[in-house]
């Protein structure tokens, strides 16, 4: 039987799913806070500091504000699709967490519990599938708004995401040639350092990582690629007509996307939950898992900071510059990277003889 499932497994996975979803929401919540603080520091301001100590309750206050705002659904728009848009954006943002290995495993109640919801052997392709579905939330929402500016924002977002997905996929193919697996868990295990031998994929694929990073910025609609919500051209972009928590969902899904892409980047190129030069086998299982999760979160925090740093440093691209960068620079670069990687792998198999 393919689907023989026991009850304990269901409960275990359910708990894990709830934890992962809640954690992504919580982290995204505090990313909004961190973004405002980082922006303030970069611009020599104080940032939010009124709600709670150091302004730590600010995200809660923001959430409450959004919930109590008046909810407006424009006339002449399809109500069902108008609500479906932000819901889809949120759904696709959260779904990616299912294949990420958050840690090795913990030992509770006499069971080894893997800290990964689903170890599917097409893990990275699953991530891609979900990312490519992320367009729908924006497109449906923008079309259902029945507003030309919203539609323009949605079209920009969709064409941008489709264009950068190509370069992203090509940069990943080179990585997959190095690792030889699609499962994220196997990738992390391969990157575990043995003694003083440091094996993170960033060493083998620096160019691939750079391309992936740029594409991740574009996929998340972050500055310098936030053309879909360019205020001075498009009012508010695809969420012009949205108010209340539906707007909140769009903004929030962006932060979840940022979090998830940071996780994916750490997993693919920076060893996931691996702590360099530390042999996890010497520690007890639970301690190792805890340290692993902390290591992953440290890497994620670095990438989140990078996202913010770039946002408040680099101005927005023009739309033709964006398309040129995607199609004329990144895709050829990714192809060259793929070719060189393939050549080097063949050479290595031949023991470095031509």
């Amino acid at each position: 039987m393919l689907l023989a499932i026991d009850l304990a497994l269901i409960i275990e996975k359910l708990v894990l799913i709830i934890i992962v979803v809640m954690a992504s929401l919580g982290i995204a919540m505090y990313t909004t806070f961190a973004e405002r603080k980082v922006a303030a520091i970069l611009q020599d301001r104080r940032g939010p500091n009124r709600a709670g100590p150091f302004g730590l309750l600010q995200p809660l206050a923001d959430g409450v504000k959004l919930f109590f705002k008046e909810e407006i659904i424009p006339n002449f728009s399809s109500k069902f699709l108008f609500i479906l848009g932000p819901s889809l954006a949120m759904l696709t943002a959260i779904m990616t967490g299912a294949v990420v290995p958050w840690g090795d495993k913990v030992h509770f109640f006499g069971r080894d519990i893997s800290l990964q919801i689903a170890d599917v052997n097409v893990g990275i392709l699953y991530v891609f599938a979900v990312v490519s579905l992320g367009v729908y939330g924006i497109m449906i929402g923008s079309w259902a708004s029945n507003n030309k500016f919203s539609l323009m924002g949605g079209l920009r977002a969709a064409s941008q995401i489709i264009s950068y997905e190509l370069a992203m996929g090509l940069s990943l193919i080179a990585l997959l040639m190095v690792t030889g697996t699609l499962s994220l868990k196997d990738m992390v295990l391969q990157q575990h350092s043995e003694g003083w031998h440091f094996r993170w994929n960033i060493i083998y694929q620096p160019l691939g990582f750079l391309i992936f990073l740029i594409c991740a910025f574009a996929e998340c609609n972050r500055t310098p690629f936030d053309l879909p919500e360019a205020e001075n051209e498009l009012i508010g972009g695809y969420h012009t007509e949205y108010s209340s928590m539906k707007l909140g969902f769009y903004l929030f899904s962006e932060y979840i996307n940022m979090f998830i892409s940071s996780v994916i980047m750490s997993t693919l190129f920076f060893g996931g939950y691996d702590i360099p030069f530390l042999n996890e086998a010497n520690l007890s299982v639970n301690i190792a898992a805890l340290l692993g999760i902390l290591a992953l979160m440290a890497k994620v925090c670095f990438f989140l900071f990078l996202f913010m740093w770039v946002r408040w440093t680099i101005p927005r691209f023009r739309y033709d510059q964006l398309m040129n960068l995607g199609w004329r620079v990144l895709i050829p670069l990714a192809l060259v990277n793929m070719l060189v990687t393939g050549g080097l792998i063949l050479l290595k198999q031949n023991h470095w003889h031509f």
């Binding site: 039987m1 393919l2 699709l81 599917v120 052997n121 490519s132 079209l155 699609l182």
Partner: protein, 170 residues
């Protein structure tokens, strides 16, 4: 009923129901969305057959890329139910007959085959997993695979040629 059977019937109902939605929906945008749901249901069937790679690729390529372009076109054309041209009776009648013929042929073909008495045929093999699929493709079916990739390349070049701006004569 086992979980597999429940899933099978659920996915089948979803696939057929949304496929009917595609042709009955008033607004073209709704029918595109229904088509996306159909692709998802079919991907679910692939997963039941333990063909994970095919399932994911189906989602990436069809639901994630092709349908986005469909949606693009439909949204920009601003099609409404009212602007749809009325088809004449003869055409409708001809469509009905030819569609019915196809249906009849398919039903008879299915009746003759030996899968009639099996509700859910589970494939426990692992041919659909990416390792085996890759080996199969690059060992036994290398030439057809390469030929089809050339076909894709020519389609891409064709698209570029068509999409290229013509130089303005001075």
């Amino acid at each position: 009923m086992s979980i597999t059977e429940i899933l099978f019937w659920f996915l089948t109902a979803l696939a057929l129901g949304s496929a009917i939605m595609v042709i009955t929906a008033k607004s073209p945008v709704h029918s595109v969305l229904a088509l996306i749901v159909t692709f998802f249901a079919i991907s679910g069937h692939y997963i039941l057959l333990n063909a994970q790679f095919l399932a994911i690729v189906n989602i990436i390529v069809y639901a994630g890329a092709i349908m986005v372009l469909f949606l693009f076109v439909v949204m920009l054309m601003n099609l409404n139910a009212g602007s749809e041209p009325q088809k004449n009776r003869v055409l409708q009648f001809a469509g009905l007959i030819s569609g019915g013929c196809l249906f009849l042929v398919m039903i008879t073909a299915l009746m003759k085959s030996d899968v009639v008495d099996k509700t859910v045929q589970m494939n426990d093999g692992d041919h659909g997993l990416i390792n085996n699929l890759g080996k199969e493709l690059f060992k036994n079916y290398l030439v057809p695979f390469e030929i089809s990739s050339v076909l894709f390349l020519s389609a891409m070049i064709g698209a570029v040629v068509i999409g290229k701006k013509e130089k303005i004569e001075k």
